[in-house]
């Protein structure tokens, strides 16, 4: 009994390590075969449209609502200390440093990441990937790498839009509805947010999240068993794994970027 359990534990660990190795190799292969994505940039642009542009609505709407909630909650808290005028800087800092990159990446993982996994998994299940290989065309270069770079490029842009819409949402609730002074809202924001320290760091975060989410989504799709259950399982794993990875990486990056404050 104990031996059985030990054996199955060992087996699981070995296969997990093997899978990580396989995924890392896959990631290196994407980078190695990335030339086509830039030489024939229209391939990447097509994917930018389907993963980036098609995610715009969810990102813009979610950003606005998150900003509005921040405006409400921030006002309630700041009022206790008579610091309502700092609302602008609170909203902007929370968004630019944390909520923008993290929430945009979580939404991107469930909107575009899952779609990528399902698409690649189905291409594999319907033998489109094999057909491409038989035509002497490398599917990593032609199908996978353009999607990877499209994800990496669109993630920081989506995160910036998320933050911008959030600031707008905070403004609508704080200034227009509650009546915080408009001048202090914007001037506190301008004074409180540092370009290098806050905005650039936030952008770096979303770039890292973009790499992680897209790589996970593509790997899961490419590795999915070519059946209906296989593809649905892979899609679920993409969302779960990339969400956890985003939150874990966020902690690590925050610890490095904003330590000693």
């Amino acid at each position: 009994m104990i031996v059985e359990n030990l054996r199955s534990l060992g087996h699981r660990i070995v296969s997990a390590v093997w899978r990580i190795g396989y995924a890392s190799r896959f990631f290196m292969m994407i980078l190695f075969y990335s030339g086509t994505s830039f030489r024939r940039f229209h391939l990447t642009i097509k994917e930018l449209f389907s993963s980036g542009v098609m995610s715009l609505i969810i990102i813009l709407v979610a950003g606005t609502f998150v900003g509005m909630v921040l405006g409400l909650q921030g006002y309630e808290t700041l009022k206790r200390y008579g610091a309502e005028s700092a609302l602008g800087s609170l909203v902007a800092l929370s968004l630019v440093r944390e909520l923008g990159p993290v929430l945009a990446a979580l939404l991107f993982a469930s909107r575009a990441g899952s779609a990528m996994t399902a698409e690649i998994g189905l291409m594999k299940a319907t033998e489109q990937i094999s057909a491409m290989e038989m035509m002497a065309i490398n599917p990593l270069a032609r199908v996978v790498a353009p999607r990877f770079w499209a994800g990496v490029i669109s993630m920081p842009l989506l995160s910036a839009l998320f933050s911008a819409m959030g600031v707008f949402g905070g403004y609508v609730v704080g200034v227009v509805l509650i009546g915080v002074d408009e001048g202090s809202f914007w001037s506190q924001m301008q004074a409180g947010v540092d370009f290098q320290h806050d905005i650039v760091n936030g952008m770096i975060k979303s770039f890292v999240f973009g790499v992680a989410v897209t790589a996970i989504a593509l790997f899961e799709g490419y590795d999915a068993p070519p059946t209906a259950e296989g593809v649905s399982g892979a899609t679920t794993r993409t969302v779960v794994e990339s969400s956890l990875t985003i939150l874990f990486l966020d902690f690590i990056l925050t610890a490095f970027m904003f330590q000693g404050e």
Binding site: L122, T126, S130, E133, A136
Partner: protein, 269 residues
């Protein structure tokens, strides 16, 4: 015959993990011919095509195409070889995110520097050859199964391959589409001067169009011959297969224990 052979398969063994699929098969596909490889489901027919295309490596033996041993080629050599092969997958494997036109143009755009006007003419010619020039604006999802198979056929021959492989080209087609696809396989092969390998279990359709037939069962070649020889063969397996009989060398029942015992019946007195 071997001097004009385009594909030679010699003593090929292949196993998935420890399950043997092919056990020392020998096949020869002469240039210009249409060859059928037949056998029941799961007998290793598709594996054979994957070995020819270099997607799998034989455990022993070799597959030679146009004088070159496939599993000894490096990545570039294999890709150069594949450019001269075409493969029609079971359900066509059309790229679902591209129109019919773009599907047929795909390899021309990837592998040649032809200007778009010439590609346009070539695509329309290929589609005309399969009778579907009128569909070039449609998406694969808008095609019927038979039409999708024909578009895939046009895509397969886009670069005039020397070897065309068909994986179950007749699966799931209505009788009209079946005849159309069968005739196209023959006509395209003769028009292009290519060699075709048709992996199938559709006996009646294949007997009409092919030059030579190999039967595979349990990983070995059990019979071979021209359509006339096969039709009149008295080998039990071939007879059962050609005439679609329920029982014979391929038993109806999956191997199992005694029926009465399974039903907990007492033995007959």
């Amino acid at each position: 015959m071997s001097s004009q052979a385009l594909v030679e398969i010699r003593d090929v063994n292949f196993a998935y993990d420890s399950r043997p699929i092919l056990k020392g098969v020998n096949l020869t596909f002469p240039k210009g011919k249409v060859i059928a490889v037949m056998g029941g489901s799961g007998c290793g027919k598709t594996t054979l095509l994957q070995l020819i295309g270099g997607a799998l490596k034989p455990s022993s033996g070799y597959v030679k195409v146009d004088g070159q041993v496939i599993h000894e080629l490096d990545h570039k050599g294999l890709y150069d070889m594949r450019r001269r092969m075409g493969m029609l997958f079971q359900f066509g494997a059309l790229f679902t995110d591209m129109s019919v036109y773009d599907n047929v143009a795909f390899q021309m755009r990837e592998h040649t520097d032809l200007p778009e006007e010439i590609i346009r003419d070539l695509v329309l010619m290929k589609l005309h050859a399969v009778g579907l020039r009128g569909t070039h604006n449609l998406m694969p999802a808008e095609l019927s199964g038979g039409m999708a198979r024909r578009v895939a056929l046009a895509r397969t021959v886009a670069l005039d391959p020397m070897l065309i492989m068909y994986d179950e080209p007749f699966a799931g087609l209505d009788p009209i589409s079946l005849t159309v696809v069968g005739n196209l396989i023959r006509r395209l092969n003769d028009a292009l001067g290519a060699t075709s390998v048709v992996v199938t279990h559709d006996v009646q359709e294949s007997l009409k169009i092919v030059d030579y037939i190999y039967f595979i069962a349990d990983g070995v070649v059990v019979a071979e011959g021209t359509p006339a020889e096969i039709s009149s063969s008295d080998k039990p397996f071939v007879h059962q297969f050609v005439h679609g009989e329920m029982d014979g060398p391929v038993p109806f029942h999956y191997p199992c224990g005694d029926y009465r015992q399974d039903l907990n019946l007492r033995p007959e007195r």
